[in-house]
Each structure stands twice: as structure tokens, then as C-alpha cells.
Subunit: 443 residues, 2 copies
């Protein structure tokens, strides 16, 4: 039986950051991937999204400036964009596995099945690892309704050759909101059906309401409290039926209703690794599962953190620090910044208003009257910062076309008592850039 | 004679940051402005530029994506843009002086003339101030050649109702490069005439060469080592003649050849304030001039720093700390990030390659093959970081369409020995955003 220091299940962000650190060690690693090398993020998640976003941004940017200094909004040419996307990703797919294989790292395509605390079987071959790391991520949760199989997910969305005339997006999280943004910008009539009365839960709900209104003004229709009970197909057309009895005819149905941890069919029960089919694999403060030689990290781990690529990196680094460097203190997550690539973007770090405690207060900054924002047509830009009674920064929320990048300026401030001092020490950011908002807030 | 704690000459960034801090004090202030309230930055500098940039960005962004996912590049409608600009700035002008006037702050329109270490005369009225702060900034340096008066400067550029068919830009600094970028994006045939063989001196010269080539590919013509010796006018048309005997017919000539400190006609000699007509007013480590009760700050001060708005803020804060809080240690500038709003942008913090010392080394990151950049058509994006032999970060240079904002991510790293540790502590920046480049560089 071939022996390794680490066997890693899943080749996504967890694996990539483990391998990056292992490059400087002599650790022997076996990397097992069942599906696409690189996992969700580069294949059907963040990366194809950000690629398409690159086109969406100038299109919507010029839409808001049309008649105000720009003659006419730019328009997306979807088939060309998709053909280009496929060509670029074909090259990526060709290289991705090879880029992860090295003298110290073997790669196997297949489903890894745990057979013991130190053993994994794949393609009927068994391997031994001192440590096993599970980083298998999430998959779209099937729609458990008649006709649920007619809905596509993010797995298929980024290969859509032709733009649908109409689309229904089921869900109200960031995947739903981002895909709706892209499709509408490209020219599709988009309707969002959300089962509850809330969208984008991790974000400031005032800003979410404002974002919803901005998206509605561009033509995206929202139906809230509209759980879907059936999808019917008639030729090339679908009808989506809600429990309130509404019917929606459409050319494409997208299931963005939720994602589930990839915990099935990998022998977790047999080996005694505790997990919950909704929350994922139970881990302790060192990312160890109930079997100490088996770790879980990233989205599949029930780590109490949002399911985000950089969180997977933190998990991966902690496993290395724990195993290799004898780290004793529990995993500690930096303040996690997150955003939705809607237009405008919405972003968050630390707490938002709903999570405020007694004595906390809010400082707001209207960005929309700054020359920067006026020039870009960012007419709703704003941000707010939450501080506690001692002046410690607890959270920041932003709604603007630069919110994703800008929110990062607040990451080093979270938990700090002296934002003014921090800002004075870093006063000479390039000007005028959104980072200068810190000066306006804390001068 | 009316008495004040502070008399401030010039209502630009120095004054604005002094007033922001004074709001929390009982200091009585007299603010004197000879020209436009707010100074160069909001009137004829950074702010109208960034306003117009808001339109330029989606236009050039869509230009690079045309045929790659966008049907056709968006186009600038110059007269509409300018009409909008004028309307917005008319409202700004109406309010700007009033916004600086308060119970503790009087404002006077006129030329302030020093009459003693504590006295200033304006409009034949004399005022007394415990401290006097000179923050009068810079003006365009006249072209000292026949016909030099035919050239407009940044003072007139942002009110140009009609787009010229052809324009000559004299100069190779950031003003020249930015105005050339704007005009070409709007449809003008632009030629840059630079007296020397260098452009954008404060930036990495490899990147400057690449930027020049990108601008040339868009149609901007560069003539290097081409000092101008005469401008001739014939009706609506001008001919610019260089010392090498080349002639350029054009519809507009822009003088962006340099700026000079505003030190004339304010009684500096009479009161004994030392200055140099090119470098500005001499100051010590507390921004005191040769007359200790008279301070100079910002662009007009010979402070050894680049002439940038945030540097003026640092100067202003130091004066307050010195006078009000008894600060003893000399002024300390944070690492100063700077950029040109060209397309792509070029940005710098700390040292660049020409300033490297023995043992320093360069880490480069090609951003152009990242999905982020490919999606946006940012085909030349790249960055480099300079470290010394002890691993201390000494500088960073970036060429990308987000360089101005991205360079700010390197500000807290300059002078740090442990970039990897800093990055691990801030690993959870929003993803994928340019800030994540830190992880790629220092993992």
C-alpha cells in the first residue's frame, strides 16, 4: 500500500493552499478528485463568475451614464462571451491537474472512500496517509419538487451558449442575486422567486432592500414568499408554479436555492466521522473530525464560518500549523469580508446592524455625493460602520460599485479601538480612491 | 485689529483638514482665499479629473472587450458630459465657501499679504493670528516661449465645452498623461510632446514604457526629446514648433509641462520667510518657516514629499499636533501611495526598481493571466514588490486598471519584515478581489 503524509480529498481551495505550503516541505501528498480539478471556485463558482462580471461591469456602468456623458450603454454579446469563456477554461482544464502534480504530490481521478483512520480507497486501490484532509466542498441542493430536474444550477450556467429570453431564478442568496444580475445585464427578462421574505441574509438588510429596488428599476422582478412547488415542461418552455398558485412561463429555470455539503458516498459513517447532512462534517478547534487523524476544512466542514474560499485557506493553514508546527491555540479566523457581485456590489465585514448590542452605534457615510461616485454613476453608494461604546470597530457594510474591494479597507480595523490612529498612520493612500473614505470617516 | 488663533492662506486640502480638526476646538480661524474656494484639487485638479474618469473607464473598458463579449465600445458624449460637469460644479461653488465658514471660522475672499510674523493684510484690512499657515499650493508654470499664452492648462481643461479634433499635450508627467488619456478616450487625436526622454518620473520605468506602448496602440502619439520653442496661431488653428524643427498643426494646445509654488505677491520676502521660487517655502521638521509663527504646508511647502493631496493632510495634522498638543518628534510621513489615472493605471508606493540597494530583490506577479483580469480585458496587468535582504518590504509598483486602489493594499506592508504574517492575519479579504494578490505573493 502506497504511503503518504497527507491524503487530501477534493482539489479545491483547501488542497491548493495546503499544496502551496507543502512546496517548501518534503511531505508526500496524494490528492484525490472526483469531479473537476480545482473544485467549484475556479470551475463553476467564483472564477467564471468574476470573468463574466468583467463584461457586466462596463455594460451596467455605461447604462447608468448613458445620456449623462456616454452616448449609449455597451451591450453584452453573450454567444461570443461564452465561446471565449469556453476556450479559456478548456486551456485551464488541460493544465489544472498537471499544475497540482509534482515530485511529492500524486493525483488520482476518482471517488475517495475512507476505509479507516489512515486509509482511503480510490478506483479499488487503497492508500495510507498519516493525515487525511477532507475538503470536498458543497454541491447544489436538488429541488425536491416535481420537475425539479428541469432546473439548471451554477454547474451548467457558465456554459450556457445562448442567452434565454426569459429566466426564473429560484433563491435569494448571493448565487441567485449574482446570476440574476448577469442575465439581466445581458438582456434576459429575469424573475427571482424567493421562498421567504429575505434576500442576502449575511448583509445589512437596509442595503439589501435598496439593492433590490435598484435591481427592480433595471427590470428584474422579485417575488418574495413564493416557494416553488412544481416545474412543468412544454417543449422548450417551462412553467414554474409557486405554492401561492402563481404560474411563471419561462425559457430557463435556475436553481440557486441552496447548497449541501459533499458528505455522501465517502465512507464517513463506516469510519466513524461525525457529520450532519446539512451542516457538514463536525470539526474541533483544530479542524479534526471525530477521528483525530482525519481533518475537514473549507465549505464541507461545520466550522461555524461562512462558506467562502478564503475561509478554506484559513482552515488549511491551521491544519498545517497544528500538525507540522505543533500549534496549540485553537483556530482563529480573521474578520471575514464578504460580498455579492451584484450591481452595485454589497459587502460586509464583522457585524451588521441586526447584530448590534447595547451601546453600539452606527457611523454612516453617504458616498453618492462624492465626485468619484457621481462621475461613475454610482448614485446609491453608501457605507456604514458599527462601533461599540468604547469606540471599537465591530462591523462595516457597504453598497457601491466598488464595495467588494472597499470592504477590505475595513478588515484591519475590525476589533480595533483606535480607528483614527490607524487612519493617521495610513493617511497617504492613493487619492482619490475609495480607501480615502477612511479619512472622511475617522479624521 | 481682529484676532485669531490661526490665519490660513489658501482654502485647499491643508485648510480643509485643519478645519476638520478645529471643529472640535474653540480655535478662532480666519481663512483667506484668493481664487476658487477649495483650491486646485476640487476645482481644477483631482476631483473634476476623477469625475470625468468615471466616464472614461467604462468607455475604455468596453473598448478592450469589444468583440470579446461586448458588442461595441461605449462612446463619450463630451458636450453632455461637460454640461453635466458644469452644473454639478456650479452647485459646488455656491456652497463651498459657506461650508468652510462657521461660528469659529471667518472667511475672506482676497489676496492675503503677510505684514509681520503674526499679521496678514487682505483687502486693506489687517488681521492678527497667533499662528499663520500658508497652504497656497501650486499653479501651472507658464510656457516661456513665443505663443506660450495660446496653451490652456488644467485650469481651463475641465470646462472645455467642445471636444477638439486634435490636441497637443506638452509635458510627460501625470497631468499630461491623464489629460491625454481622457481626450483620446473621448475621440480626440492626441499628441504628447515631452522635452526629455522620460515620462512619469516617480513610477517604475519598465511599467511606464509598457503604458506608453498601450497608449500608443490606442492612437496617442508620443514625441520624446521634443522641447517646444514656439506656438503659432492661425485662426482657430495652432502650430506647435519644437526645437528639433518639427511642426504640429492642432486645434488645442495644453500646457501640462509643470507647476510652480504660489509664493509671489504675499509678502514672504518682506516678513523674512525663506523660499525658493521652484521648490517652495522652506520648512523645518515641524512645518515652521524661517519665521516660527508662520507655517507652510502642502504643495507650496518644500517638504521633500511629492505634491499630493494626502501629503497636505499629513502636514496639516502635524501642525496641529505641534502647536496644540506639544508634539516634539519631527513630522513623519506614512508610505505615500501615488498613481496616475491613465488606462491602465500606474501606481507606486515606497521605492521602485531604480532606487534599489544592494541585497534588494524583486518579486513579480503577472496579473494578466488571472480570470479577474482576463474578464475585464486588463491584458497587461502586473505588479512587483521590492524587498530587502532581510525580507522587509520596501516598495511596490503596479500597472493595471485597478492599480490606484490596489496599491493601497501595500501601504501597510512598507517597512514590514513579515509580509507573510500580515497576510495570514488578513487572509479573509473579500474574494476574488485584487487584495487577494497579497495571498498569492506572500503565501
Amino acid at each position: 500500500m502506497k504511503k503518504y503524509d497527507y491524503i487530501i480529498l477534493g482539489s479545491g481551495p483547501v488542497a491548493m493552499h495546503l499544496l502551496a505550503k507543502f512546496e517548501r516541505t518534503t511531505n508526500k501528498v496524494l490528492l484525490i478528485e472526483k469531479g473537476l480539478w480545482g473544485g467549484t471556485c475556479p470551475n463553476t463558482g467564483c472564477q467564471p463568475k468574476i470573468f463574466i462580471e468583467g463584461t457586466v461591469r462596463p455594460v451596467l456602468n455605461s447604462y447608468y451614464l448613458a445620456g449623462k456623458g456616454i452616448k449609449e450603454a455597451a451591450k453584452i454579446d453573450w454567444p461570443t462571451l461564452m465561446a471565449r469563456k469556453k476556450k479559456i477554461w478548456a486551456a485551464f482544464h488541460k493544465n489544472e491537474r498537471a499544475s497540482m502534480t509534482s515530485e511529492n504530490t500524486d493525483t488520482v481521478q476518482g471517488t475517495g472512500i475512507l476505509t479507516g483512520p489512515h486509509t482511503v480507497k480510490v478506483n479499488d486501490q487503497e492508500y495510507e496517509g498519516k493525515q487525511i484532509v477532507i475538503g470536498t466542498g458543497l454541491s447544489p441542493r436538488d429541488l425536491d419538487i416535481p420537475g425539479g430536474e428541469y432546473a439548471i444550477t451554477n454547474n451548467e450556467f457558465f456554459d450556457l451558449d445562448q442567452l434565454p429570453k426569459r429566466a426564473i431564478v429560484i433563491g435569494g442568496g448571493y448565487v441567485a442575486m449574482e446570476l440574476a444580475t448577469i442575465l439581466q445585464a445581458a438582456g434576459t427578462e429575469v424573475t427571482i422567486l424567493q421562498h421567504s421574505d429575505r434576500l442576502l441574509r449575511p448583509f445589512d438588510q437596509d442595503y439589501v432592500q435598496e439593492l433590490k429596488q435598484i435591481m427592480e428599476e433595471r427590470g428584474i422582478k422579485f417575488h418574495m414568499n413564493a416557494p416553488v412547488k412544481q416545474i412543468a415542461k412544454d417543449g422548450d418552455q417551462y412553467t414554474v408554479i409557486t405554492t401561492n398558485g402563481e404560474n411563471f412561463d419561462t425559457d430557463l429555470v435556475i436553481n440557486a436555492a441552496g447548497r449541501k455539503p459533499n458528505v455522501e458516498g465517502m465512507g464517513l459513517e463506516e469510519v466513524g466521522v461525525d457529520f450532519d447532512s446539512k451542516r457538514g462534517i463536525k470539526v474541533n478547534e483544530h479542524m479534526q473530525t471525530s477521528v483525530p487523524s482525519i481533518f475537514a476544512a473549507g465549505d464541507v466542514a461545520d466550522n461555524g464560518q461562512p462558506n467562502l474560499t478564503p475561509v478554506a485557506w484559513v482552515d488549511a493553514y491551521h491544519i498545517i500549523n497544528f500538525v507540522e508546527n505543533g500549534e496549540k491555540s485553537p483556530i482563529k479566523y480573521p474578520p471575514v469580508a464578504t460580498n455579492a457581485f451584484t450591481y452595485p456590489e454589497i459587502a460586509q465585514v464583522g457585524i451588521h446592524e441586526d447584530e448590534m448590542e447595547e451601546g453600539d452605534y452606527v457611523k454612516t457615510l453617504d458616498l453618492s455625493d462624492m465626485f468619484f461616485s457621481i462621475g461613475e454613476g454610482d448614485f446609491h453608494a453608501k457605507l456604514k460602520v458599527i462601533l461599540n461604546k468604547d469606540g471599537v470597530v465591530r462591523g462595516a457594510s457597504e453598497l457601491s460599485i466598488h464595495a467588494a474591494e472597499d470592504i477590505n479597507n475595513f478588515v484591519p480595523l475590525i476589533g480595533r479601538k483606535d480607528p483614527n490612529k490607524f487612519v493617521e498612520e495610513n493617511l497617504t493612500f492613493a487619492f482619490p480612491t475609495p480607501a480615502n473614505n477612511l479619512d472622511t470617516l475617522f479624521r
